[in-house]
């Protein structure tokens, strides 16, 4: 069987395309960077099994982070492909785009959430640091090779990463549906709603949400920057070979591969 093929979507202003492609390849998939322009035929996306919308400032984040890219005809196509069960991963700006399209959380045919400017008592605006996220989802989906309650070390790098909503009952529903995949926690998995454990003030410490079906994930932290030991803050006193080994976040991509292979079979 051929390995699954991922389209790494590059919108004007995206800036994580190379490392996004690399991590897909490291997990055993094939990946192409697709440059989005007005002459692109959305049908070309049909040949791909999954879509990775990476970080950056798509269309300069005019109006709101991700708002313009969400209206791009390419996203309509990706929405269509997602309905077929293909995998869509949105990281950072990609997560903002998925929320702006309404695919996430995707329970109603409208935008139900927003990624608001961080609230952080120390660093206002853009904030880049290492945090911990706890794997909370108890249902099998396309991304969860990491076990329930497993804690992952991962960097955040954004100015607008605070998951929020005006719908009071939404979080309950997301919990019930097992759509909340990762929550900001401390090293031992304890949830504290305050900074620094919660780096941006996100509602219910939400770091990542899937759609109800479990084949679309919007995640604010960057798993592609934490997929090898050398990328983690603990590279010291380890051999080169040890540092080149996969770090826990690679499981997210390996999980995508397994899910897609199952689907393709």
């Amino acid at each position: 069987m051929n390995p699954p093929k991922i389209a790494v979507i590059w919108f004007p202003g995206s800036n994580c395309e190379d490392e996004s492609k690399l991590v897909c390849e490291a997990a055993g998939m094939k990946a192409d960077i697709i440059v989005v322009n007005s002459s692109i035929n959305p049908k070309t996306l049909e040949q791909y099994d999954g879509f990775f919308i990476g970080g950056g400032w798509s269309y300069e984040d005019r109006i709101r982070a991700g708002a313009i890219a969400a209206k791009d005809p390419i996203m309509l196509k990706i929405k269509e492909e997602a309905k077929k069960g293909k995998v869509v991963l949105g990281v950072c700006n990609g997560a903002q785009i998925l929320v702006e399209t309404g695919i996430i959380p995707g329970l109603k045919d409208k935008i139900q959430m927003a990624l608001a400017p961080n609230t952080n008592p120390k660093v206002s605006g853009y904030y880049n640091t290492w945090v911990y996220v706890k794997h909370e989802c108890r249902k099998t989906n396309a991304f969860n090779a990491a076990g329930v309650n497993e804690v992952l070390h991962i960097p955040v790098a954004h100015g607008e990463g605070r998951f929020t909503t005006t719908d009071k009952d939404l979080v309950k529903e997301l919990i019930k549906n097992n759509q909340i995949m990762f929550r900001y926690s401390d090293e031992d998995g304890n949830i504290d709603e305050k900074y620094p454990v919660n780096p941006n003030g996100a509602l219910y410490n939400i770091a990542a949400i899937t759609n109800k079906e479990g084949n679309v994930l919007a995640i604010m932290p960057h798993p592609e920057r934490a997929s090898w030991n050398r990328q983690l803050p603990y590279f010291e006193q380890h051999s080169f070979e040890e540092n080149e080994k996969a770090a826990p976040c690679l499981k997210i991509f390996e999980s995508i591969k397994m899910y897609l292979e199952k689907r393709m079979r």
């Binding site: 004007p12 800036n15 970080g55 950056g56 660093v123 080169f240």
Partner: protein, 766 residues
């Protein structure tokens, strides 16, 4: 024209050429220049573009050696990583623009520096930002408020621009003092990765007659016209409004797209084996880029200015030619490849949809005749020998030694306990943790960062995924040392930057210098500049490239004069240097944080009574005179010993001794880069020096954490270079205790240390 008439004419046309310079143009081209030509020479002969005062002196710097692939000739230098790969580096200043409009000034500083690295054909992989601001705690509230405003805006400008284009910041520093009240310094360093056989030169290729000249990027407007000339004047607060027009407008979004589209052109050119010329439009705009592309290829250039995409109507010819509109480059391409270039920018990456009227367009061609010809509205507005335009002029400026009358330090009373002085030193803005700044920059994008800002003495990336190489980067220069002595200040900058690179285990392979000085027309200030170069040169020539007796070479640099205040005083002379280090195996690198309880704390570099220029003296508003003096042989030996010991994995942590001296070095090792350290240390110092000098003297050296099991091997590694390891204490506990000759002089718990060090910078910016 009579002198008086000429002077009035120049003034009316905002030309800052001196009378004799204007007359020299007539001599050069054999007739009276056109107004366009006059503006061209005005820019090309500015200090910023021509290096007219500095060129002769810069020859003192060593620029060759086994690690050099390309010295300081083009937009950026290139150092050898191995037979296959090189590291491109450029170092620039954007001081005056950042003082006038700090956000835009700093952002365009990043933009311009990134262009320099990119236009060599490289992938831009990391950056560093050394910054100098005025005093944060001035008695004059309006001074400190302005300082904080400028500092915040500069940091925001760097973050907004650098984060958007996706280049991690891995090093930087910040100093604040009153000499920078009217003139901040914003220096920028970027490095890129390139294959050694894929370098694109800033030069028209051989036999390129008839090749197209293509401009890409933002449509030209009148922004930044005269920026080069503006950089060559002392800033005067009164003229601030007039100066704003000389600052460019940044567009990081467009730059993000231009970078990626240009990578695509590199790829296409490699596949089709086409040789191109590529240069960024910086100072002097299209004129400077195209004339230098032509002249360095021994060709002429002919442009039709009516073909240049513009966003404003009725611009005069000299503005189209010379404006410093941001986000533009020029290509020289064979006709048959032109369509590929135009299609990549205009169709695949759709520049016209990214920014209004942005595009790639042919504006002229390479000609055989070595002329620089500009046409506009069917008229020839410039027709001069191309070399006359690019060659520039030179001055031998006069210099006059400044005799430092104060030859000794102040006599201060030694306190009983050094707890308070230590906490006060930790709070100084240049020493306190800058994590709130670093966390504002993206330092993990591209996924290759190994050591982030602040975690160790230098930043480290592993730029080739799957390969062992590590590339280290660091910047340095202590303004207070330079206030005491321009020579020793410069020597110390080189010694410290190399120590910083060594402290993580990397070997220094090359340097850049950004020479920020005062007014070269003033003999004392020009003397400071000459002394600085002498210091840089002596240090680079004597702290040899490891394994050789050759200098560590300078491969790129920049000179920024006229930094001072309107009353004629210079800033603290600031030869800010950057150093690139190479590691065979990045996984052997170490940070400065203490790792284990019960290991030994060791020192190399004996403590001396060298408190001149120290942070300790700053507490008492004293400068002192006895600066740390660099003993080149001992400096080399310590650096080589540390590199070897780390690469043999014998050290757990290492930190160079500089600002704040031994005691600050140990404190920072306890706290670690993010202030999260939990393991303390106790030191027993037996030394005849007075306690203040022992703890706070900034004499060169390293502090290291070594486990007992590795001690013998570590001693051997250092013995190879005749360096003795001095044991000064043990790690453990949750405090810092220091005994000097059996008397307790410091006893502080970690939370107290953390509080001072982590909040000092934030308090200064409040």
């Amino acid at each position: 024209m009579e002198d008086k008439e000429l002077a009035e004419f120049l003034k009316k046309n905002a030309i800052s050429l001196k009378l004799n310079e204007a007359r020299k143009i007539v001599e050069l081209i054999g007739r009276n220049p056109t107004i366009t030509e006059l503006h061209i020479f005005n820019i090309q002969w500015s200090e910023h573009s021509s290096y007219k005062s500095s060129k002769n002196a810069l020859k003192m710097l060593p620029t060759t050696g086994p690690t050099v692939i390309l010295g300081p000739k083009e937009d950026a230098g290139i150092l050898k990583l191995d037979e296959e790969y090189g590291i491109v580096i450029s170092h620039e200043s954007h001081n005056h623009p950042s003082q006038v409009v700090p956000y835009e000034g700093a952002a365009t500083g990043i933009g311009g520096n990134v262009r320099d690295v990119l236009c060599m054909g490289a992938k831009v992989i990391a950056g560093a930002d050394p910054l100098r601001f005025g005093e944060a705690f001035s008695e004059n509230k309006s001074v400190s408020n302005r300082t904080k405003y400028i500092a915040n805006q500069v940091i925001n400008g760097i973050a907004t621009y650098g984060n958007a284009i996706g280049v991690p910041v891995i090093a930087g520093d910040i100093y604040m003092n009153s000499s920078f009240n009217d003139n901040c310094l914003v220096n920028v360093v970027h490095i890129g990765l390139i294959k050694n056989n894929e370098i694109i030169h800033s030069c028209a290729p051989e036999n390129s007659i008839g090749y197209d000249v293509i401009v890409i990027g933002k449509p030209t407007d009148n922004s930044g016209f005269g920026g080069a000339a503006f950089a060559s004047l002392i800033l005067d607060e009164k003229n601030k409004e007039n100066n704003r027009g000389a600052v460019q407008v940044p567009d990081p979004f467009l730059k993000n797209v231009l970078i990626r589209a240009s990578y695509r052109v590199f790829e296409a050119a490699r596949k089709q084996k086409v040789t191109l010329g590529f240069k960024d439009c910086g100072a002097g705009g299209i004129m400077c880029a195209t004339s230098e592309l032509g002249a360095s290829g021994n060709m002429g250039i002919e442009l039709n200015l009516n073909e240049v995409p513009v966003s404003m109507q009725n611009l005069p010819s000299y503005i189209i030619a010379c404006s410093e509109t941001q986000e533009r480059f020029c290509w020289i391409s064979p006709k048959e490849f032109t369509k590929t270039i135009l299609d990549i920018y205009n169709k695949e990456f759709e520049l016209p949809n990214v920014a209004e009227d942005a595009c790639a367009k042919v504006i002229g061609r390479v000609i055989k005749d070595k002329k620089y010809i500009l046409k506009y509205n069917n008229k020839i507005v410039c027709n001069a020998d191309i070399r006359a335009i690019t060659e520039g002029i030179r001055y031998n400026r006069e210099s006059e030694e400044i005799i430092n009358k104060k030859a000794s330090g102040p006599e201060l009373i030694e306190p009983e306990s050094f707890n308070t002085p230590l906490l006060d030193v930790l709070k100084l803005p240049q020493i306190a943790s800058k994590y709130t700044v670093y966390e504002h920059y993206d330092n993990t994008v591209q996924g290759n960062t190994v050591i982030r800002c602040g975690e160790a003495d230098a930043g480290l990336i592993a730029p080739l995924p799957g390969k062992k190489y590590g590339v280290a980067l660091k910047v340095d220069c202590n303004p207070r040392y330079n206030r005491v002595s321009s020579y020793h200040g410069a020597v110390n900058a080189i010694a410290e930057v190399m120590r910083n690179i060594a402290a993580i285990g990397a070997t220094p392979i090359g340097l850049t210098d950004c020479l920020n000085y005062g007014n070269p027309e003033k003999p004392e200030q020009f003397w400071q500049f000459l002394e600085g170069i002498r210091g840089l040169s002596d240090a680079a020539k004597n702290i040899f490239l490891k394994g050789t007796t050759q200098p560590v070479p300078f491969v790129s640099g920049n000179v920024s004069f006229y930094n001072g205040s309107a009353n004629g005083k210079s800033i603290d002379p600031s030869p800010i240097v950057a150093c690139v280090g190479r590691m065979e195996d990045y996984s052997k690198a170490i940070t400065l944080k203490i790792k284990k309880s019960g290991s030994g704390v060791y020192l190399v570099g004996a403590r001396k009574n060298e408190l001149g220029g120290s942070a300790y003296y700053e507490l008492f508003d004293e400068l002192g005179a006895n600066l740390p003096k660099t003993d080149f042989a001992s400096e080399r030996n310590m650096i080589y010993g540390v590199i070897d010991a780390i690469n043999e994995r014998l050290l757990l942590a290492s930190h160079d001794i500089s600002d704040g001296g031994l005691i600050v070095a140990v404190t920072e090792m306890i706290l670690g880069g993010k202030g999260a350290g939990k393991i303390g240390a106790s030191l027993q110092l037996n030394d005849g020096l007075k306690t203040s000098a022992l703890l706070f003297s900034e004499s060169s050296g390293f502090v290291m954490e070594i486990e007992d099991k590795n001690l013998a091997a570590a001693e051997k590694a250092f013995a190879k270079y005749d360096v003795d390891l001095i044991k000064i204490g043990e790690t453990g506990g949750d405090y810092l205790i220091v005994n000097h000759n059996d008397k307790e002089v410091v006893n502080l718990d970690i939370p107290a240390l953390r509080d001072a060090w982590m909040n000092g910078f934030g308090d200064a910016m409040k």
